[in-house]
């Protein structure tokens, strides 16, 4: 047995012993996800015990170094853990912008002190982070952002407004892009971290077409930020921001994989019924589903290849943009098909039976996938410029 084979069998046994049955069921609602943070509560004992077992093992952030709360797994081990969790459909014990976005940026740009302090908090699920990038006048053209941090010696005073800040009203800290030099567009932005309880920070929820309000307008009115709460160098926050966006795009692209079940067609068959040949009793929809399933399985292979290549430093640095584009367009297609398969039942918005309109609300929410974290059009622009190297892109 190779080391990896024995790691696989150990992992399988550990998961068997530690992952409760309830944590192997598909996620049904927002509260099935554990986000951590100061105000976090566990929905059930199973959720708690699963989180605690993972925490003790370093498996909330398995591939981070041990000194920052991870398990120090190699890429090959990390892949085995993901495969084995996927095999039993284990939920992730903790999700957060800290894990997907801020963590990787800190690992790359943070000081040793920052890594120990912030990464540890993220790994333990103590602090829930939000992302302060977009502003009313700066969406796709993010670098035009205006929120300003005035230098006051040992601290900055930040004034301005962010928008579309996901979960800002539920988060503890924010990683925020702030202009610290008005003369230089790209080299005039700094990447600051601060507590959402700092005086002068207010949030105002915005309701989405799905009827939910997961994001906010965020206002900064003379907010004091100490100088040691900057990541990377002064005025070089754009480098950190872009690096982080790569990870954000990679994470969002994961939506393309759906809930991990191999076939949407197989899943909706009971709703639609079958003909004498045992085929889905709607030939045109069946054809759409079949081509969709082909695309999902192909994208799944791509997602695996992308991670393997990235960890081996073999992938093009702009490849996350491709993944984001393809994964989000695929996820939108999935939910169009879910709606088409559900027919008039899938129109119900409030009934108990429809889990309060889970299908239409999710369908509507997925429309944001190709907007948040950079729009599809912007992804295509980046591919044109950085990968295909087309002129004027």
């Amino acid at each position: 047995m190779t080391d990896l084979d024995s790691f696989r069998s150990e992992t399988r046994a550990w998961l068997e012993a530690n992952c409760p049955e309830e944590m192997r069921q598909p996620i049904k609602g927002e509260d099935d996800v554990y986000w951590g943070g100061r105000n976090a509560t566990f929905k059930s004992d199973a959720q708690k015990s699963w989180f605690e077992a993972c925490l003790a093992k370093g498996y909330t952030v398995p591939e981070w170094p041990k000194e920052y709360g991870g398990a120090g797994l190699s890429p090959a081990e990390g892949k085995i853990l993901r495969q084995e969790m996927g095999r039993i459909k284990a939920r992730s014990p903790l999700q957060s912008f800290g894990i997907w976005m801020l963590g990787p940026a800190l690992l790359h740009f943070g000081t040793e002190e920052q890594k120990v302090h912030y990464l540890g908090q993220i790994a333990r699920g103590e602090i829930r982070w939000c992302q302060g990038y977009s502003e009313p006048g700066s969406g796709s053209d993010l670098v035009s952002l205006q929120t300003f941090g005035e230098d006051k010696g040992d601290h900055w005073v930040v004034n301005g407004q962010k928008i579309w800040t996901s979960y800002a009203d539920k988060c503890d800290w924010i990683f925020c892009l702030v202009r610290t030099n008005k003369e230089d567009k790209y080299r005039g932005i700094s990447f600051l971290l601060f507590d959402m309880e700092t005086p002068g920070v207010t949030t105002k929820p915005i309701k989405l077409i799905s009827g939910n309000s997961p994001f906010c307008e965020t206002f900064f009115d003379n907010v004091t930020v100490p100088k040691d709460q900057i990541v990377g160098e002064l005025n070089r926050g754009w480098d950190v921001a872009k690096y982080l966006l790569g990870h954000e795009r990679e994470m969002i692209s994961g939506g393309g994989l759906g809930d991990g079940s191999a076939s949407l067609g197989g899943k909706v068959k009971p709703e639609i019924g079958s003909n004498a040949l045992g085929q889905l009793d709607d030939p045109m929809l069946r054809a759409d589903l079949a081509h969709f399933d082909v695309d999902v399985l192909a994208f799944k292979a791509m997602a695996e290849k992308f991670v393997d290549e990235m960890k081996a430093k073999k992938s093009h640095p702009a490849q996350p943009n491709m993944m984001k584009y393809a994964g989000t367009e695929l996820n939108k297609r999935r939910h169009e098909l879910v709606m088409a398969s559900g027919g008039s039942d899938a129109l119900e918005w409030e009934s108990e039976g429809s889990h309060h309109g889970a299908k239409p609300r999710t369908w509507l929410r997925t429309k944001a996938n190709s907007i948040e974290g950079g729009t599809s059009e912007v992804m295509l622009n980046v591919i044109s410029k950085r990968i295909l190297e087309l002129p004027g892109a």
Binding site: L297, A301, A312, Y325, L380, L390
Partner: protein, 378 residues
């Protein structure tokens, strides 16, 4: 298994890329086409392939081959696709050898040495109509003395008239549509009663309609077991479909590269046409689809090489995805070239033609999407 080429595979890719682009670039195909070559491929090149060792890529080392897998075969095929190289490699060294590997040793002893030497060419006599329907094989092989007598007609036998032997799928029991009752045979091309009528295809490939008029073969000609040909046929089809998918990735990549280059050269309205966002976005979408198609093909190859049961569905995913994507690449290729893309003198049209032929080979994207649906129970 990590999803990127290891050092040995990268080295193989480098040498294949170099060899194929030097010895058989698109101009090689054009030359054969202009000369109205009867084979539609170069026998000299087939010998060079042999010298490079490629012909034995799926042959075990015990039998003097390279003992490699579908992934390595795909490396060769992707370059064949990129250069539109006409070659019996896919039918002979990939699908043919995969069938022989699943069949009898005595047949390997008889045919493999010639394949390794670049002398023997195999044709695949599976199809009976214009669309791929391997589950509907009807041609009959009836018992006769110690062997079988074959009667019927096969179509779309690539290199059929040039081949030394054909792998023939015929019914020894049951009726069309039955799972059991199919048997695979090796039939020498010069057998009495066998005639092949060759037709030049849109991509300058040669495909034969082969008529079997009481062709006698002895029991030794059976690949695998009588009535149980499904296993051998499956091995042949999986290898051929995955191989064709790899070749299509090459075709798509070749067309895309040509097109992206053209976008950087052609000026209209006082600027490079590659500066127009309308074209940039389509090119970038194509890039994205090509990446995904290549990953799907690689996954199918790896699963086949591992002997993983999940290979079956992934092979169909690969053929369907590569099919749709290569088709997108050649359509966009011709369109973005404007008028020049319509000319015979320019190579992009050759890509479009090869894509069309490969898409019909062993099932098009709809056939395979349907198969994915069936395998997923709907």
């Amino acid at each position: 298994m990590a999803m990127y080429l290891n050092d040995d595979q990268s080295a193989l890719q480098d040498s294949v890329r170099d060899f194929v682009s030097t010895e058989a670039p698109v101009s090689h195909l054009r030359g054969l086409r202009d000369a109205k070559d009867e084979d539609g491929f170069s026998r000299k090149l087939w010998q060079q392939f042999a010298e490079m060792g490629f012909n034995g890529i799926l042959v075990s080392e015990d039998e003097d081959g390279l003992g490699m897998g579908h992934l390595e075969a795909g490396i060769v095929l992707e370059e064949i696709g990129r250069n539109l190289t006409p070659s019996p490699f896919l039918t002979t060294s990939v699908a043919g050898v995969a069938a022989l590997n699943a069949g009898g040793k005595h047949l390997r002893d008889k045919y493999i040495p010639g394949i390794l030497a670049g002398e023997t060419i195999l044709g695949l006599a599976i199809e009976e109509g214009p669309k791929h329907r391997p589950d509907k094989i009807a041609m009959e092989a009836s018992r006769s003395g110690n062997g079988f007598k074959l009667n019927g007609r096969k179509s779309f036998v690539i290199h059929g008239a040039s081949a030394d032997a054909l792998i023939v799928a015929a019914r020894t029991a049951g009726s069309a549509g039955d799972e059991e009752g199919v048997t695979l045979f090796m039939v020498d091309r010069d057998a009495a009663g066998l005639s092949a009528e060759s037709a030049r295809l849109v991509d300058n490939g040669q495909a034969a309609a082969v008529t079997f008029n009481g062709v006698e073969v002895d029991a030794d000609a059976v690949i695998g077991e009588v009535d149980q040909g499904q296993a051998v046929l499956t091995a042949l089809l999986q290898a051929g479909r995955t191989g064709a998918a790899a070749e299509m990735v090459g075709v798509g990549a070749g067309a895309m590269d040509m097109t992206v280059d053209y976008l950087k050269q052609r000026k209209q309205f006082g600027q490079m046409i590659g500066e127009f966002q309308a074209l940039q976005h389509r090119a970038s979408h194509l890039y994205s689809e090509m990446e995904i198609a290549r990953a799907a093909v690689m996954k199918a190859q790896q699963l086949l090489d591992e002997g993983n049961a999940g290979a079956d569905v992934m092979v169909s995913v690969a053929k369907a995805k590569a099919g749709r994507t290569a088709n997108l690449a050649v359509r966009e290729g011709v369109q973005m070239h404007g008028g020049i893309g319509m000319t015979d003198e320019y190579d992009i049209g050759f890509y479009m033609k090869r894509d069309r032929a490969l898409s019909e080979f062993m099932g098009d994207a709809n056939y395979h999407a349907n198969r994915v649906a069936e395998l997923n129970g709907y």
